[in-house]
Amino acid sequence: MSTLLKVEGIDVFYGPAQALWGVSFEVAKGQLVSLVGTNGAGKTTTLRAICGLIEAKAGRIAWDGREISGLPVHEIMDLGVSLVPEGRQLFPKMTVEENLTIGSYLRRTKANRNRNLDWVYELFPRLSERRRQLAETMSGGEQQMLAIGRALMQEPKFLILDEPSLGLSPVLVQDIFRIIKDFHDRGLTTLLVEQNVSQTLQLVDYAYVIENGRIIMEGKGRDLADNPKVKEAYLGF
């Protein structure tokens, strides 16, 4: 399998405070990989660095063998990266349909806009019922569906999800995980960032554990789930 995304030794700072220390990992084409860790471990920062929302002071990030560190966000997105950000980050004063429409803002997806809209509505019938509603007036679960739908409108080659289960009811969490697995089965390369460690490790091919801004462990999902240290720190055994 060839590597789609390779992160090599990135350091990221917020002002004088260092948030990431030489973080390295890679995601192969078609793989479902997870980055797990507690709150504040550096998961979201890592994703922001990949997407170009924050600059890495050291190290490099390569997409399909090509260095992308330093590119503006919109160019990285045009490569086929899509982020479902933490806390959804929808456009609150836009309708559901407008939020989805702007998902196909990029020229490479514009031509397929109507087809993709139909497809997303088929995937999430709730969104179809609420297409004229403002995003800010929807429930947390519906907003998460909209955030995922919006990312799918971008026709991602690489889908990144930042804590998609956060704040959702257990039933909805199951739904979201089922959707992620479904897309993985269809061959979509995915990076899943979660605090919900036990469930995530059961689902993914490979996982990295991040703590205090450093990758401290990595392995196949099920192997990590059986690792005594992981069990103690994250699974509460």
Partner: protein, 295 residues
Amino acid sequence: MLTLLPQAIIDGLLLGGIYLTVSIGFSLAYGVLHIIDFAVGEWIMLGAFLGLYLTAWTGWDAMLFLPAVFVVFAVVGWFTQPLIQRVTSGAKGRPVLMALVFTFGLALTFRGAAQTVFGIFTHSLPTELAAGSWYWELGPFMMTVPLVRLAGLVYALAITVGLTYLLKRTDLGLAIRAVAQHKDAAGLMGVNIQRTNAVVYSLYVGISAMTGVFIGAIISLNSGMGPDLSLFAFFVVVLAGMGYLPGVPWASFLLGLIQSFFLIFFNPSWTLLAVFTVLFLILLVSPTGLFRKGV
């Protein structure tokens, strides 16, 4: 006195149209770029002077130069926005304050340069429309509509409709709204934020300059006209709710009507006092503007 009522309403609406054109681009720029541009009145003044020189040079009607004035100043705005971007995105922060200081400096520079280059005399832009007016008598009521003022109102409404169409019906408009609502997320959608900001600023400067041509034709122009216009733009935008574009037409017409009623029915010299008292009272009750939708 009552016989003047229709005229007061007409005057108020026509005046409101002028305020609308002064403030709509300004409101858009604030909503998207989050900068308060002190130079708004100066852009209007510069646009008016470009119109004046073009008409003096060619002898044509001022209205014919609207597109040219728009294009010239849209280009100027396009190249000015990156400067503001630089000033506001410094490592030390306080972007709002930096933008205020920068545009205030820009305003002073423009005004100073204009007073040196254009002089301090008051001019008026020649247009065929200035000569004409409509007049009716309906029983005891008499109404006059100067054509050039009517043209100003039509222009104001056309700009409003055009901007609304742009924002609601086009992909560029969707991108502009996305940047206004959530900058990071807009970038994640593939929107080129830098370019979108430049487009908005360039639209705003272009519209303001065109407005200068109308104000020069309707009222007059001189190199010191900027600060008053900036004041009215602030007034309207604060009343409408900072950054809330749909509130701008209502606030403009309200301002125009208050002014014309005071002018006709009370003491003309109290007009500005009345206007600012109304602003003060409304903000006291609702600090986020008429519709409680501002920032």
